[in-house]
Subunit: 227 residues, 2 copies
C-alpha cells in the first residue's frame, strides 16, 4: 500500500489536477505562445468548466508564473545533475557539461526555453518568486569559475570594466579578476546566442549541423575562459 500522502486523498487529487492543468498549459505554449495562453482552452482540454481553473490558480498570470518557475527549476536540475557527475577539478569538463546540457534541454523543451529565455511576455511582470529559481543556472556556472580561480583573491577593481561588472564581482567576493569575469560572461552570452539562433531559425542555410557546431563552441569556450 502506498504511503498516505500528507493531507489525505483530497490533497493528492488536488496536486494531480494542478499538474494536469500545468501540463495542458505547457502543451498550449507550443502552438500558441505564452502571450495567448488561454485558461478557457485549458479547461476545454481538461473537460471542465473554465471557472474551475480558479480553484487552482487565482489568475492567468499566476499560472504563467508557475510555469516559469517550473521551467527554471527543471533546467537547473538537469544542469546541476550533469555538472555534478564531473570530477571537481575538471573545470573545463564541468563547463562543457553545463553548456551542452543547457542546449539539449532547450532542444527537448523549446516552449519552456522560449518562456524563460525568449522575449518576455508583454504585460506580464515576473514576481519576485521567480528570481531564486532563475539564478540557479548562472550560479552553477559562476561556481565553476570561482573554483578555477581559487588561489587568487583581489581587491575591488576600479577600472571601467571592473565597475561595469560590479554586481557580479561583488557577488563572487572579488575572487575572479574583471577580465576573466568578462570572458565568462561572453561565454554565457554565446551559449544563449547559439541556442537562440538555432531555435529561432536563424541558422537556416548557414549552420547545417547545429549540434556539432555547439559542441565545438563549448570546448572552444572552455579553453578560452578556464585555466
Amino acid at each position: 500500500m502506498p504511503e498516505k500522502p500528507a493531507g489525505g486523498v483530497r490533497a493528492r487529487v488536488r496536486a494531480e489536477l494542478t499538474a494536469e492543468i500545468k501540463a495542458a498549459a505547457r502543451r498550449q505554449l507550443a502552438t500558441e505562445g505564452a502571450s495567448s495562453l488561454s485558461l478557457r482552452a485549458i479547461a476545454r482540454e481538461l473537460g471542465m468548466a473554465s471557472s474551475a481553473i480558479y480553484r487552482y490558480f487565482a489568475s492567468r498570470d499566476e499560472l504563467l508564473t508557475a510555469l516559469i518557475i517550473d521551467a527554471y527549476e527543471d533546467v537547473a536540475s538537469h544542469i546541476e545533475a550533469a555538472e555534478s557527475q564531473c570530477e571537481r577539478a575538471d573545470h573545463r569538463g564541468r563547463f562543457v557539461a553545463i553548456a551542452t546540457t543547457l542546449r539539449s534541454w532547450a532542444v527537448a523543451n523549446p516552449n519552456e526555453y522560449a518562456l524563460i529565455y525568449g522575449t518576455p511576455v508583454p504585460g506580464y511582470a515576473a514576481p519576485t518568486d521567480t528570481i531564486d529559481p532563475a539564478t540557479r543556472v548562472p550560479i552553477t556556472l559562476l561556481t565553476v569559475l570561482v573554483e578555477s580561480h581559487v588561489s587568487e583573491t583581489s581587491e575591488p577593481d576600479e577600472s571601467d570594466l571592473g565597475q561595469a561588472l560590479a554586481d557580479v564581482l561583488v557577488f563572487t567576493n572579488h575572487s575572479v579578476p574583471a577580465d576573466a569575469m568578462a570572458l565568462a560572461i561572453e561565454a554565457w552570452a554565446e551559449i544563449f546566442g547559439l541556442i537562440n539562433l538555432e531555435m529561432f531559425g536563424h541558422f537556416k542555410n548557414a549552420v547545417t549541423n547545429p549540434s556539432v557546431m555547439f559542441n565545438h563552441a563549448a570546448n572552444s569556450m572552455a579553453e578560452r575562459i578556464l585555466p
Copy 2:
C-alpha cells in the same frame, strides 16, 4: 513647387497613410507584443474604421510581414552605413562597428529587435520575401571575414566541423577555413546573446553597465576572430 510624385496625389496620400499605419503598429508592438498586434486598435488610434485598414494591408499577417521587412532593412542600413565608414583594411574596426551598431540599434528599437530576433510570433510563418532583407546583416559580417582571409583558398573541408558548417562554407566559396568560420559564428552568436540577455532582463544584478561590457566584448571578439 515640389515634384509631382509618380502616380499623383492619391498615390502620395496612400503611401503616407501606409506609413502611418505601420508607425501605429510599431507603437503597439511596444506595449502589446507582436502576437497581440490588433488591427482594430491601430484603426482606433488613427481615427478610422477598422475595415479601412484592409485598403492598405490584405490581412494582419501581411502587416506583420511589412513590419518585419522594414525592421530588417532598417538594421541593415544602419549597420552598412557604420561599417562603410571604416578603412577597408581595418577588418577589426569594421567588425566592431557592425557589432556596436547592432546593439545600439537594438537599444533604440527594442520592439523591432524583438520582432526579428526574438521568439518568433506563434502561428505566423514568415513568407519568402523576408529572406533577402534578413540576410543583409549576416552578409555584411561574412564579407569582412572573407576579406580578411583573402589570400587563402581551400577545398571543401570534409571534417565533422566542415560538414556541420557546409552551407555557409559553400556560400563563401570555401575561402574561409572551417575553424575560422566556427569562431566567427561563435562571435555572431555572442553578439546576439549579449543583446538578448541585456534586453530581456537577464543582466539584472550581474552586469551593471551593459554598454561597457558590450564594447569590451566586441573588441575581444575582433581580436579573437580576425587576423
